[in-house]
Assembly symmetry: D2
Homo-oligomer: 353 residues x 4
Amino acid sequence: MGKKRIRDYGIAIGQMKPGTRNQITDVAGVKVGHVTLNEANLRTGVTAILPHPENLFQDKVVGASYVINGFGKTAGIVQINELGTIETPILLTNTLSTATAADALIDYMLKTNPDIGRTTGTVNPVVGECNDMFLNDIRAKGVQKAHVLQAIEAADVAFEEGSVGAGTGMVAFGLKGGIGSASRIIPYPYGTFTIGVLVLANFGRPDDLRLDGVAIGAKVKAFLEKKQALEATAQEKGSIMMIVATDLPVTHRQLLRLIKRTAAGLARTGSIYGNGSGDIAIGFSTANHIPHAQKDGLMTITCLSDQHLDPAFHAVAEATEEAIFNALTASDTMIGYEGRIIYSFRDWLESQT
Amino acid sequence: MGKKRIRDYGIAIGQMKPGTRNQITDVAGVKVGHVTLNEANLRTGVTAILPHPENLFQDKVVGASYVINGFGKTAGIVQINELGTIETPILLTNTLSTATAADALIDYMLKTNPDIGRTTGTVNPVVGECNDMFLNDIRAKGVQKAHVLQAIEAADVAFEEGSVGAGTGMVAFGLKGGIGSASRIIPYPYGTFTIGVLVLANFGRPDDLRLDGVAIGAKVKAFLEKKQALEATAQEKGSIMMIVATDLPVTHRQLLRLIKRTAAGLARTGSIYGNGSGDIAIGFSTANHIPHAQKDGLMTITCLSDQHLDPAFHAVAEATEEAIFNALTASDTMIGYEGRIIYSFRDWLESQT
Amino acid sequence: MGKKRIRDYGIAIGQMKPGTRNQITDVAGVKVGHVTLNEANLRTGVTAILPHPENLFQDKVVGASYVINGFGKTAGIVQINELGTIETPILLTNTLSTATAADALIDYMLKTNPDIGRTTGTVNPVVGECNDMFLNDIRAKGVQKAHVLQAIEAADVAFEEGSVGAGTGMVAFGLKGGIGSASRIIPYPYGTFTIGVLVLANFGRPDDLRLDGVAIGAKVKAFLEKKQALEATAQEKGSIMMIVATDLPVTHRQLLRLIKRTAAGLARTGSIYGNGSGDIAIGFSTANHIPHAQKDGLMTITCLSDQHLDPAFHAVAEATEEAIFNALTASDTMIGYEGRIIYSFRDWLESQT
Amino acid sequence: MGKKRIRDYGIAIGQMKPGTRNQITDVAGVKVGHVTLNEANLRTGVTAILPHPENLFQDKVVGASYVINGFGKTAGIVQINELGTIETPILLTNTLSTATAADALIDYMLKTNPDIGRTTGTVNPVVGECNDMFLNDIRAKGVQKAHVLQAIEAADVAFEEGSVGAGTGMVAFGLKGGIGSASRIIPYPYGTFTIGVLVLANFGRPDDLRLDGVAIGAKVKAFLEKKQALEATAQEKGSIMMIVATDLPVTHRQLLRLIKRTAAGLARTGSIYGNGSGDIAIGFSTANHIPHAQKDGLMTITCLSDQHLDPAFHAVAEATEEAIFNALTASDTMIGYEGRIIYSFRDWLESQT
């Protein structure tokens, strides 16, 4: 892909081993697609995460969602935690396009499932969002329903990070944010499992940034001050969406415990879950599929003992932290709406040597 | 309006006194508007509840939401409980039109607030929903964005109940459901306050129905069986949205406690909060406005002692129960999608004498 | 046992069939034991519910707890919902004896499990409570640790209801409350399952009482007024503990959904979950045991489809409602602390014919 | 006091200014008292935190509690979040002594409030705990009720940190843990406010430890390995209790938001909120007192705008992180039950120069 990642700078977050790609798609079956709108006043887009390649409505995955700070407009969360399942692709976009994305996702689900609204009930679209109003003309509502379908269709195992898809116009720590991902391998005695995280990073003040724990915020702030590029941080309106995928067999309760550990990884980068930040985690496990039509009534599901969850907790925290740095590292300096400029983290990083 | 209400049949739910209209608009400032789509295969619509007549985004109300059973797609709930405020009108519609309604509400808020997405953050649209697929061609997604704006503009103190607005195609207990409302007056030593409830009733099996507590379900079921009209109840896909308004000065925590008592009123009608039912309460208090621009930093808010909440708890339960019966009583028998027929509760009621 | 139950008066709550005993012990393995302290100024005691006869710490049951209204001091709830298990007998007692009961339960667990605090971690005692201060000299803290052990040892399939154990001094709707129980049988295609409920009923105002849904509160209040016995109701300090047992195979999430339906049964009796009432449900399923020492790491658990939960929801609501009436019906008129008198519900019931 | 703190080693956590003592007692009115049991096989004790010097039952403080990970037995949490108040001193002790402490606290409250259980209701004792079984003979249940009263009576503005009170036998990151505290000053335009945190630190693996963000875990592990002192970490049974005090005027909802930020400070030290760790925050604000007898019915409370909360969020995170390091730094190497040894963090720190 040509884009840089944080490990390219010799910085490896945490103690555990990443998967082959060090991305969420290391979890078998998971695919990610982007549509990027980077033209005129638009710096926005859509990112779609597909938990598996089959019909998700008929063949749901175990799902959970967790609100760290609820200044956010994410759709679909209520039902995920009541029923413990996710039945659509997960979309990410800008805040004011959440409804457009949800509507397009409804259309997509209706088209691929003729029984919805006829012989079975309705469908629960899942859409996360962050506010990209600094670089993007968010009031223009540039995301069209067609873009959403394109993002779903574009989904693949290989996907780009940085200023792409929903991440196009995002800002984190006063630097260019966006999409980032990472993964961890967990060698259990009964098999090797993978945890993957994809973030849409759009949060944080420059002062607070920590690189692998080390406080670099003061330096970053000075760097931006010199460039007269602190305007974005005067408006702390950020958020972060964290999507966690795993093939670990877990129940909804266990999955919920697992995705709560995104809060640890997030805090390590310097976040204090600011008032204006919608910090939300959504997770799924591909290990136990829940069929929509449950004729038999009784199901058998496999799950881990809670006593064995610690390695998975570590994996979630590490992958979240690294995914945030991959979002920063993969993003180039961007000039956006009204000529505003947001510098790349790499500009700072490379200025340090 | 000419429509019947449950008190017209000599049945007064509970022990407390209703307000002048016995509707949610007895709470000063509250208005309700409908757009009804009853043509061809459509039996659906939009209902808008306006907490006060001023700019809600600039002048928010204390808000809370409570999920009794989360098989539902309501938008906006996460932020309501994090910040304790509601900043848009509350919309109700059919499940597959939730995104359309949210999108239209975003447009409305952008138009009336030029600062959104420019000098201030974004906006949190609140939309509740029920599934009307038995009488309505829900896959047609008949609700257009223009309808939403019309419902907001149509909002008034006087409003109709029954098969109107979002209630047009709803079914409850195998009978025609829809929009219902009721209110209660609470004489406290320090002033007289009002609690109003508006429901979108679309839940329940005929067997379970209780009229003022008395089990009438077996009779209703026999009545419907004789008319060969039990098909709707084979598909239990209902839900109920309960909107609670009050001028009682309460904090978010107290308001949350208050709206939880909708569960008691709901249970009295025969509901057990069925698996497939999205049973959700959203409430607001108009007593303490929370300005969007909070320059001063410190606010003074007035609130009730928790020890004085019991009368308000009773009021919520009673008004919820009566609102459900007003929804049933105001609705006429309807023939809908594919010629399906749902009988009016009045047909049964009047057959009993 | 000679005590009356509500069915002895020809009143059968709900539509479903009760189990053999119509008590919580219809769920195989469950046992209940009481110690009753009815002497001098004491009208209190302890009730123990044993989920199964084996070592609960080594062989835990799936557990869940749900707080309807949290004005209460129940111990153990936090861990139940984090780990989804219950590992001790469940105790009920008066509010100020909660700590004594928890301490005795810790001693019991230490004695029966020498590994606790040595080679394994600690233990989570579960104790529910209601305030019996009207009839009982609650400040005397009459419950001793020995009483707790006696209640556990007394546990049996056959157990008494009414003013026994923790129910000895309880008051409900201004009438004599206490321990009540009921059960329901659920015939699923894949087997017949049982749901049992045991309540400690100590809540409600006379005005609000509803018998099988019918408002009898005004009559009950008049009856008590005539007897000058409304003093207890001036102090609404009640609560209700609801223990739900089942052999239905469910996950923690499903069990939590199930026990939430106690709120429906409770509301049917007239409760609006008053401000001062600690209304709390604790449930367990005996179908999937969770071993303390989980060497294998991966477990297989059987669970119901959520789409099949509605009969179980009905069963919980019906059994809760009937258990409350069994508590009322089994209790005799009692004279307690400072000569205060609380009349039996039977006194009123028999005065009506 | 002579004990070392982390700032004595030139390490200042975060960007904000501490209060005079850099302890929780910088919040006016707050006092802390310890009873330390360090004799024979006992390495345990009790710590009492008094929110203000008056009668807490009559004059409650706004309170909130937050469960990060619920593998814990803390008492009193349910009611704190329902009513939004704390009405007793907050006690900390070892896990198996929680009930003893709660019982002693009930006695203390009964003695100081003759109306409890007579003319008013009961009382909600608040007790947090951690498991000190590695160094302490926890099964001996060494804490007596008299110790609890002594800790309350010993409460003062000046108090010790490290292996004192409830912290006596605690272990964190394989090193000696215990009691630590820190505070931060927040200069708002409308006044200067203080946030203080006290922790009972008993969590974490050596590998994970981070000092001001820098990963020192591998070095600490190697240090302990060399000393053959890794046995404690084989049993990850830790927990952390975090008590947050402030004089900032906040509602319950805002206080809850505030204390959630302890999770950020905790994560910065290396915690991933392990499966077996009861990670629980309890907070109170002394700014708005809530009288027990609320004759007037309507109250006026002052609160901050949510938009001004970020500095307070930072303060909580920073003070939590520093409090944990003060717990580590103030503790000496200890030999405990069965001759087990846990080294002081200072041993490692001083070995690094």
